[in-house]
Symmetry: C2
Subunit: 248 residues, 2 copies
């Protein structure tokens, strides 16, 4: 199954969310990563202006959200449920870190045609033992042991990001439009630079010291582009033969 | 250098943040991942009640935040700067995805003793070309191409998470307190189950079909724990020899 479709089969369930702002933040976080199925179990306030404001351009996710009164109702058609918890709990096993858990959940979308769900508990209390007992796996976000309290919207963002990476390899980082310089072009630049350095008296060919190797090191590290070589050579040419200016 | 110290050397810089709530969310996100150095360049409102409220337990990060009037001032002691942008831009190179960029930045903390910085632009406008020109590398968060607008606090959360993973391997997922069952224990359970299944008449030893292999498959997949085997064997023993009850 293709990755985009896999993401569309993952239900993000917020159980008993207290703050409508977090519901909006979760919707926005989901949409930025290509998820769209949001379920709310007994939200304290929903719909709500604050949810809509925080959802920003993801108001469609809010508009399509399911509202259920119980977790059992929310999970009725689901075959695999992962629950996010802040600490290892006895009732749910096996446990995964966020990255491994996302991969497990994604794999679940690729078996059969039923839905999978990622379950987040209340902002203050987290998942209850009863809620966790519905989960086939537990997921923990690796965090600072002295302060592991992620905001609910931030936790949804992070898990949806891991789900997206599990579903869709982002590929190579996008490259610029500019072509890299060829070795010939770079050698031409070095020769030109040396000529100018000698002509200006900055480089004494009898005692060249380490000037050219240092410049070579600099430009190698910079991985010059074709157009940059042209600019630098233009500059060097103008140093060799200053252009006439109107004012001079 | 140890990973915790590396994280402490990374400066999170928010340039021209408009919404104090996002400053608070960023502080909380940083602290959950073990970062603590926050710099604000020309924030629209700071300090602010909303920032403090959203920072939750990370008010110490807010209290220690530097406020600068220009990016140049913020970057004065910094040797490596990475900028977050939503799209490939010509002026900053090389570009990395979030994960690779976090690794580069972390590596930067391990060369020399000066600081490295991760720069986030204004919520609406992102980084300007001028700001991006201060960056040694550009970082993009892989996102839904149809809606890539992460909330500022969520983007800080995600990058700090990747920085934490780059600095500190989370190790194996935490295990439960319960010991796994040994093979002997599991074999004892299967023998007991079979005996009860025959005694009750559910299993005909002359025509066993696939009952025992199916049960074996189930329990293998469940990776039984020591205590679970005890519970199941207790149940089977009671089926074999019902206990006398007060009422019967």
């Amino acid at each position: 199954m293709n990755g985009t479709l896999s993401l569309a089969r993952i239900d993000i369930i917020l159980s008993h969310p207290s703050h409508p702002g977090n519901i909006g933040a979760a919707a926005r976080a989901m949409k930025t990563m290509g998820l769209s199925r949001l379920t709310l179990v007994a939200p304290k306030r929903f719909p709500d202006e604050e949810a809509t404001a925080r959802a920003s351009g993801a108001s469609d996710v809010l508009a399509q959200a399911r509202v259920c009164s119980t977790l059992e109702e929310a999970l009725a058609d689901t075959v695999l449920v992962a629950g996010i918890t802040a600490r290892r709990r006895d009732l749910a096993a096996p446990f995964h870190w966020a990255r491994g858990g996302a991969a497990e959940l994604l794999a679940g979308t690729q078996q059969g045609t039923r839905d999978v769900a990622l379950l987040f508990g209340n902002e203050t209390a987290g998942l209850s033992n009863d809620e966790l007992a519905h989960c086939h796996l537990g997921i923990m976000i690796p965090a600072n042991p002295d302060y592991s309290s992620l905001n609910l919207g931030a936790a949804v963002q992070l898990m949806c990001y891991e789900l997206r990476l599990a579903a869709l390899s982002p590929g190579e980082p996008p490259r610029g439009e500019f072509a890299p310089a060829t070795s010939d072009e770079v050698e031409g630049l070095h020769a030109h630079l040396e000529r100018v350095a000698i002509a200006t008296g900055f480089l004494d060919p009898a005692q060249p010291k380490r000037l050219m190797p240092r410049l070579r090191r600099l430009f190698a590290r910079a991985r010059l582009e074709h157009e940059e070589v042209s600019i630098l050579r233009g500059l060097l040419s103008t140093i060799e033969q200053p252009k006439r200016r109107n004012k001079s």
